[in-house]
Amino acid sequence: MRETQLLPNGRVLRYNFRERLVHWLAGLSYLYLLLTGLAFWSPWLFWIAVVLGGATIARELHPWAGVIFTIAVLWMYRLWGAQMRAAKGDKAWWNSIPHYIQNEDEEMPSADRFNPGQKLLFWGFYWCGIALLLSGVVLWFTEYVPWNLRFLRYISVIVHPVAALLTIGLFMIHVYMGTAAERGAFGSVIRGDVSPAWAKKHHRMWYEQIVKGASARK
């Protein structure tokens, strides 16, 4: 793991600049997609589109935001795909999930750079992103779908909201954990660094590898 390392000031680099950039490219484009998507989802939320400059503009920009989001997700796949693969300890981690929920982190099996919950978030967004892209392209160019292929429209109108709802569930948990629940996590994706204590508490396996790597280089 060349990208992550101990910093001279004693802190640990968790996300380098490229990783932070792509995170926010995905995050901000997703936020726009979410808000405009909710406006189209329910008449009771249609006002969101009005606030964002009108529903006609929202309809024009929503697909383009989707293109940006897709690029960001694919870029994330390139950066993190390998580290997100299922590992041996994942099952034990999931079995201890009640401890995680109750903030008894000392009872948790040690986690690598990404814990299994983060892997679920990643792959959930990856596969839902693909479903959203494919159905979204059909909805984007609905009028060009020939009548005898209209089943594509019928599949898309249901796949798009179902996949979106799944991502909303992941998104809510992600935002809650990244801002309110897991103190220090938000800084890691803004300035990129965390304290050694944070790294040890949440990603011990990853931290130990960094320390080992640093001492080996000395």
Binding site: A39, F40, W41, S42, P43, W44, F46, A49, A55, T56, A58, R59, E60, I101, Q102, N103, D105, E106, L139, T142, E143, W147, R150, R153, Y154, I155, S156, V157, I158, P161, V162, L165, I168, G169, M172, I173, Y176, A180, A181, E182, R183, G184, S195, P196, A197, W198, K200, K201, H202
Partner: protein, 298 residues
């Protein structure tokens, strides 16, 4: 297009009640198209363009009399010509005036997310309000008749209005006015049903069309445009008129159970996360003791 003098029954993408619905009694109107007396003159096509101020566009020749393969955003009314081989009557040239059917249960309106972009008047006419249309094209997916057409220039969707502007002033639609054979009729839904059944009976009893009947599909709650067909058992022969049109089931699933399930899940999720924070609070790292293993207590 003009809402001024008509009472509205249903509004697309609308939160809350429909203002003024049900205060006044209105006749339900209906257009009746007798395909057995249509001669394919296309006067109705021209009258539609004339009244609605649409310019004549290029036609497409496909070895038939048909003006173009499909109706377009600026061509709302198209006679479909189909050669049809039958045992009893030999080769028939079927001519069916194709346009919006003005469904009692309009799939376009159900699918539309834009507040007020599609309205259904109490008289049964389903009308697009382009000033509220956002051009998303969901109506195209909701329609079982392949009617709404997207205009790449206007970036809005258009279709037959049943000449709502004429009807609201007590006039019949332009196509009806222009028909030289009297195969087009306009009146109340009840009157048109009677007339249609009479004509179908005549075709069965006198003209030897034993399967003649009325097309008023109940899968969409009936339509405010009805056909008399020589062979009501085979509407597909008339340029792909669907035998049993319904709103696509995925559209219905999306607009009713999924919507409530999704709203419930989102609200439940927000409440759940909030309660979690109240009960367990944040995961705080004890920075003062960074050398010890296992992190801090919260």
């Amino acid at each position: 297009m003009s809402q001024a003098t008509l009472e509205i029954r249903r509004i697309s993408g609308h939160a809350g009640s429909v203002p003024g619905a049900g205060v006044k009694r209105e006749f339900e109107v209906c257009k009746l198209i007798d395909t057995t007396t249509c001669i394919g003159c296309k006067a109705c096509e021209v009258a539609c363009l004339e009244w609605n101020g649409l310019s004549f566009t290029e036609t497409t020749f496909q070895n038939s009399y048909q003006t173009m393969p499909d109706a377009a955003w600026n061509y709302w009314n198209l006679i479909k010509f189909n050669e049809h081989e039958t045992d009893d009557h030999g080769l028939m040239l079927l001519m069916r005036k194709d346009q919006c059917m003005h469904c009692e249960e309009p799939g376009c309106l159900v699918a539309c997310p834009a507040d007020g972009a599609i309205v259904q008047y109490a008289n049964g006419i389903v009308d697009f309000q382009q000033e509220h249309c956002i051009g998303c094209g969901y109506c195209v997916s909701g329609c079982p008749f392949n009617i709404p057409k997207f205009s790449p220039q206007a970036r809005k969707v258009f279709k037959c209005t049943l000449c709502v502007d004429r009807v609201s002033q007590g006039l019949e639609p332009a196509c009806i006015k222009s028909c030289p054979t009297g195969c087009l009729h306009f009146g109340t839904k009840d009157d048109m049903k009677d007339l249609a059944e009479q004509r179908a009976k005549q075709l069965r009893d006198v003209s030897g069309f034993k399967d003649a009947g009325v097309y008023d599909p109940q899968g969409v709650g009936g339509t405010h445009v009805m056909y008399v067909l020589h062979d009501a058992k085979n509407p597909q022969a008339y340029g792909g008129l669907p035998a049993n049109p319904t709103i696509p089931w995925t559209v219905k699933l999306w607009k009713a159970p999924l919507k409530w399930l999704g709203n419930f899940a989102i609200l439940g999720g927000i409440v759940g996360l909030f309660v979690h924070y109240l009960r367990y609070g944040p995961k705080i790292v004890d920075e003062g003791d960074s050398s010890s293993r296992g992190g801090g207590k919260s």
